[in-house]
Amino acid sequence: MHDPKSTGSFLSEVIATTPGAETLITCLQCGTCGGSCPSGPDMDYTPRQLFAMINAGMRDEVLRSNTPWYCVACYYCMVRCPKDIPITDLMYSLKRIAVREKLYDDRDAPDWSTSFIGYVETNGRSFEFGLATRYHLTHSPLKKVGVGPLAFELFSRDRMALTADRIRGIDQLRMILDRAKSLEAV
């Protein structure tokens, strides 16, 4: 009997890296996820289409699509899915595979994530000002008119720090993260 989860398929790869995702093979293609998604209208493919493509083994197209990167992690799809598919978690998995294999077309979202974690790994905390400047100065600055005034507004209300906080145990945290990364878990 043909087993859609047989090792080696893209479907099995995606399921293996996502807790509780065995239910993906029972997808009804009902579209509840795509209908519920707040950023659905801006996605290349709706989550439902992505699942059909995963099943069809369209690895490259799936990983290059903007769909996972446009997931806002609101979990609407997940609590509404009639088949209990952990859709949000699947999106995280697709992002990780795409980053690992550098398979993404639009750079904004992945770069936002990498900038973010860069600060976390340096300081142990996120750093809004640094993040905003580093990210926004390198990413289509023309689109970001108004970001300057916004930063000023926040700064003037004492809601933005110009220097980063750093935790005392940063060395400990780095050891933990290095060990974690050595697991190469996707």
Partner: protein, 321 residues
């Protein structure tokens, strides 16, 4: 009652008012908060997008540090994203042995260990509603928020996904509604109460986020809300800081202040606006707050038409849990 407190990065800067008001009301209610010593970022929605084991290690360190604190079994987080990350790691470590092994293997590099289930991770809103309780809150109210029309905005992550037996309805919760009524406010039945604020899309695809923010603001305006009340720094940031850009983008003129539920409780308990961090929001709340304590002002009639004799009865709803 004593709690390990995980403020999260936002509450140290952009959402400092949330931190101030949280500490103020917790003190008033006798909830002792012990901040986790040297906590680190929870990874937000970003770390898990890049590295799974790292994301678990990051959160795992916080859980391990909190569980080392003496006499503390409850961990409270006011930020919905932090709350979800902490809760999810604890939950998944408990359910999937491979995840437990992976996380503790990473933590061991820093000399730490976390046993899943050893902490009860809760959102601040749940703690206030469940541990303090509506009656005890009502008993402490000295300044009822009479005449203030508030839109209760839960956002996504307090009620979703349903892990660890969350009790609130993931689509239409009512505990924040009831809390705001308890402190005397008029609560609008806000249909978008659990819809998305845009999350990180404000950084990635502004247009996507602006439309979501606009929709929320429009709905609050349609219901004549004086303010939107939220329980998450991300929600507050997106709705407040981006409001003027949304107005510019769509040619609208929304002017709806966005405040934290802790600030509203603080006001009702008679605290000063300043000690609750009020005044640091981008959209000024002055007009809304001026209403409190004054004679009951004229309130716009509810949008829903009156029922007349011909009307068919409404279905009876299940008892609210």
């Amino acid at each position: 009652m004593s709690y390990a407190y995980y403020p999260g990065c936002s509450l140290t800067h952009s959402a400092e008012p949330y931190d101030l008001s949280t500490r103020a009301i917790c003190e008033a209610f006798g909830l002792a908060l012990a901040e986790i010593d040297d906590w680190n970022c929870c990874g937000a929605t970003e770390y898990i997008s890049i590295n799974k084991a790292g994301a678990y290690g990051l959160v795992g360190r916080n859980l391990a540090l909190a569980s080392e604190q003496e006499g503390v079994r409850e961990l409270v987080a006011p930020c919905s994203a932090c709350y979800l990350n902490l809760r999810k790691v604890d939950h998944n470590m408990g359910v999937y042995p491979s995840i437990e092994a992976m996380t503790n293997y990473a933590l061991a590099a820093g000399g730490l260990h976390y046993t899943p289930g050893s902490l009860h991770i809760r959102h601040l809103l749940d703690v206030v509603v469940e541990d303090v309780g509506y009656d005890a809150i009502a008993a402490k109210v000295v300044r009822k928020l009479d005449g203030l029309r508030l839109a209760p905005y839960y956002g996504c992550l307090i009620v979703r996904p349903q892990i660890n037996g969350g009790t609130a309805d993931p689509e239409y919760p009512t505990h924040l509604d009831r809390l705001l009524m308890t402190i005397g406010a008029e609560v609008v039945d806000f249909p978008l109460k659990t819809h998305c604020c845009g999350g990180h899309m404000s950084q990635i695809s502004a247009e996507t986020a602006y439309e979501l923010i606009r929709h929320l603001l429009q709905n609050a305006a349609d219901y004549d809300a004086d303010a939107i009340v939220c329980a998450c720094p991300m929600c507050q940031f997106n709705l407040d800081a981006f409001q003027s850009q949304v107005n510019r983008h769509f040619g609208t003129d929304y002017n709806i202040p966005v405040l934290y539920f802790t600030q509203m409780i603080g006001l009702a308990l008679g605290m000063e606006a300043e000690e609750l961090g009020i005044g640091r929001e981008v959209v000024a709340a002055d007009a809304a707050l001026a209403k409190i304590g004054s004679a009951v002002p004229e309130v716009a009639a509810p949008r829903r038409p009156r029922r007349d004799d011909k009307a068919l009865p409404m279905p009876r709803r299940r008892e609210e849990v």
